[in-house]
């Protein structure tokens, strides 16, 4: 039974004065609405152009319930297509990655498409002549997202034909992607050969809130940071990178209270606009000089000194510029979230930079990470017990000020202000209360 679809007031009732009702995390209906109204109309991260260097190279991705192919066309342009044959709906390519050749050919009845999705050939063509086929959806070829945009090599898609334009949607938060790309003397990144994947039995919004949660590390990750301190003393001269990355998880509330934060329209945020746990990573020999030569001393300094804790490109991407990592959320259902961790090498820079990102990925985000274990355990516990009798609310009211609703963007000093999370729900509600057109996809 639909409770929320046709009842704007009920949806608005899910977010109240910095509290979020449990249905936002638990309800299957709310998740279905998120697919139609939120994910379909926002710009979702698909992949990086360097994953498909040659003509015909492709990767497949599940984008909010749609199977998509990111493929490099014969003209060099990276395209995004819906991975569904226009004929009877068979999946066109089944591998996670590969090369299509010059055309995509459906394995079922051999319908053939150009790499831009146009229908090239069908068998028994004469059987369609003089029929209404030319007016059918099938004749139009493959479905494509309503919008596709490559920005500094990062490829995004908006599934729906309706929704904000790319630059309007992201605005100043794109600076985080510029910063990552400009960490290369050539201004280009090479993504690692593959990613680390994990699945968490929790709602995607719990994970995304936690990306901006500065108050949890000292208690949640105490076992990891204190074990790192203890063992680090015994092995003082080995694995400096691992210690450099793990020890800051013991940073206290004061540390985060001065890091600076910025919230932006559409749910985006920059946590740690002044500094973060990544700020004090040691220099990689020769790297700064390379960047100075390429970008000039001022820009090099600007690039290297900008290392926020997390930049959220709402709703499914979190960027760590300094260890050069993207966290990509692939929500599956109300209670299941897939996560991909991608590390990047700035082209032309020392290889040590990729190793830094790979080490961080293993230590902090992998399914075997001693840091992530405690996060995942707690998110999954939320998902399990939120439905319990009594209080139905999740509370995000630290430093809540009703006046904050009068302003679209905020700059503030204290990263412990839960405005960095409330801002996500402001965008969430704005999209969720706006019904989608009947036909979402082009």
């Amino acid at each position: 039974m639909d409770i929320y679809r046709n009842d704007r007031a009920a949806l608005e009732g899910l977010v109240r004065d910095g509290q979020v009702h449990r249905d936002a995390y638990l309800s299957d209906e709310v998740f279905d609405l998120e697919r139609e109204r939120l994910f379909a109309r926002s710009w979702l991260y698909v992949g990086h152009e360097s994953q498909v260097p040659r003509h015909g190279d492709y990767v497949t991705v599940d984008l909010a319930g749609s199977s998509v192919v990111m493929v490099r066309d014969m003209d060099g342009v990276v395209r995004v297509l819906i991975n569904r044959c226009a004929h009877k709906g068979a999946r066109l390519v089944s591998e996670a990655r590969g090369n299509t050749g010059r055309v995509i050919r459906c394995p079922y009845h051999a319908w053939t498409y150009r790499l831009d999705g146009a229908l090239l050939a069908v068998p028994l063509k004469a059987g369609y002549e003089g029929t209404v086929f030319s007016q059918s959806r099938a004749a139009e070829g493959l479905s494509v997202p309503g919008g596709v945009r490559a920005y500094r090599g990062f490829v995004f898609a908006r599934l729906s034909a309706e929704g904000p334009a790319f630059e309007d949607y992201f605005g100043p938060v794109l600076k985080a992607l510029d910063n990552m790309a400009d960490r290369s003397p050539q201004g280009e990144l090479q993504v690692a050969s593959n990613c680390i994947r994990s699945v968490i039995r929790c709602n995607w919004k719990m994970y995304l809130e936690n990306v901006n949660d500065t108050v949890h590390p000292i208690s949640t990750h105490e076992s990891a940071s204190s074990s790192a301190r203890k063992v680090g003393n015994q092995f003082a001269d080995t694995m400096p990178t691992a210690m450099e990355q793990l020890l800051p998880f013991g940073s206290g509330y004061d540390f985060y209270s001065k890091m600076g934060a910025r919230t932006l329209p559409h749910g985006h945020s920059i946590l740690g606009s002044e500094f973060s746990i990544h700020t004090d990573y040691s220099d990689v020999p020769g790297y700064r000089e390379m960047l100075e030569q390429a970008h000039g001393a001022a820009r090099a300094q600007e690039v290297l000194s900008y290392s926020p804790q997390n930049v959220v490109l709402y709703p499914t991407l979190a960027v760590k510029g300094s260890p050069q990592i993207l966290r990509v959320l692939r929500p599956v259902s109300a209670g299941l979230t897939r996560l991909e961790i991608w590390a990047f090498q700035p082209k032309g820079a020392p290889q040590g930079l990729l190793e830094r990102g790979l080490t961080y990925s293993r230590l902090v985000f992998s399914p075997m990470s001693v840091v992530a274990h405690d996060d995942v355990h707690l998110f999954e516990s939320q998902q399990k017990v939120l439905a319990s009798a009594g209080n139905p609310w999740v509370n995000l009211q630290r430093q809540f000020d009703p006046e904050e609703l009068n302003q679209e963007a905020h700059d503030f000093e204290d990263g412990n202000n839960e405005l960095v999370m409330r801002n996500q729900y402001r965008a969430w509600l704005a999209m969720m209360t706006e019904p989608a057109a009947q036909e979402s996809f082009a």
Partner: protein
């Protein structure tokens, strides 16, 4: 000939004993099986040959293994409540050709990890590279090649 059989038997027995230490949570003794340069490695893709330059699910030398073991004993390791229990079901090990002068032995493994009403089951092929020193084997590399290494995996909390 007899010596050869004896070596094979010892290598196979090593695999059984190593897995038993993990099942019995004798982590400190297990740690002492690793050579100074020893690593525990869980690749992120099938056929992965390199530890450097591409992602791994785990890649840990003695420092990080020690850290993981210290955390397993930490009173505020929240994710370990309720207790996590593991079982390794080891298929008869196969002695391989030596690799770079190191003894090599591998086995297929079914790994169970249980916590609070849910059980994780993983299949893996495990290969050990071993160095003999003072009459015992030390692990130079334990490589755990998970069957579903490139899938979205849930948390794996103990040592496979």
């Amino acid at each position: 000939m007899n010596q050869c059989i004896a070596l094979n038997d010892r290598l196979m027995q090593f695999v059984y004993d190593e897995n038993r230490l993990l099942d019995e949570r004798r982590f400190d003794e297990w740690f002492e099986l690793f050579a100074q340069d020893g690593v525990y490695w869980v690749p992120a893709r099938a056929g992965q040959a390199d530890k450097d330059g591409e992602p791994s699910i785990a890649l840990e030398g003695r420092l990080l293994l020690k850290l993981r073991i210290a955390r397993l004993q930490h009173e505020r390791a929240h994710s370990l409540r309720p207790q996590v229990r593991a079982m390794h079901v080891v298929q008869r090990p196969i002695v391989e050709e030596p690799v770079d002068g190191l003894d090599a032995v591998s086995c297929n493994l079914v790994y169970f990890e249980y916590q609070g009403g849910s059980q994780l089951v993983l299949g893996a092929q495990v290969r050990y590279l071993l160095r003999e020193a003072e009459g015992r084997f030390l692990i130079v590399e334990k490589r755990v090649q998970l069957l579903d290494c490139d899938d979205y995996l849930s948390a794996i909390q103990l040592f496979i």
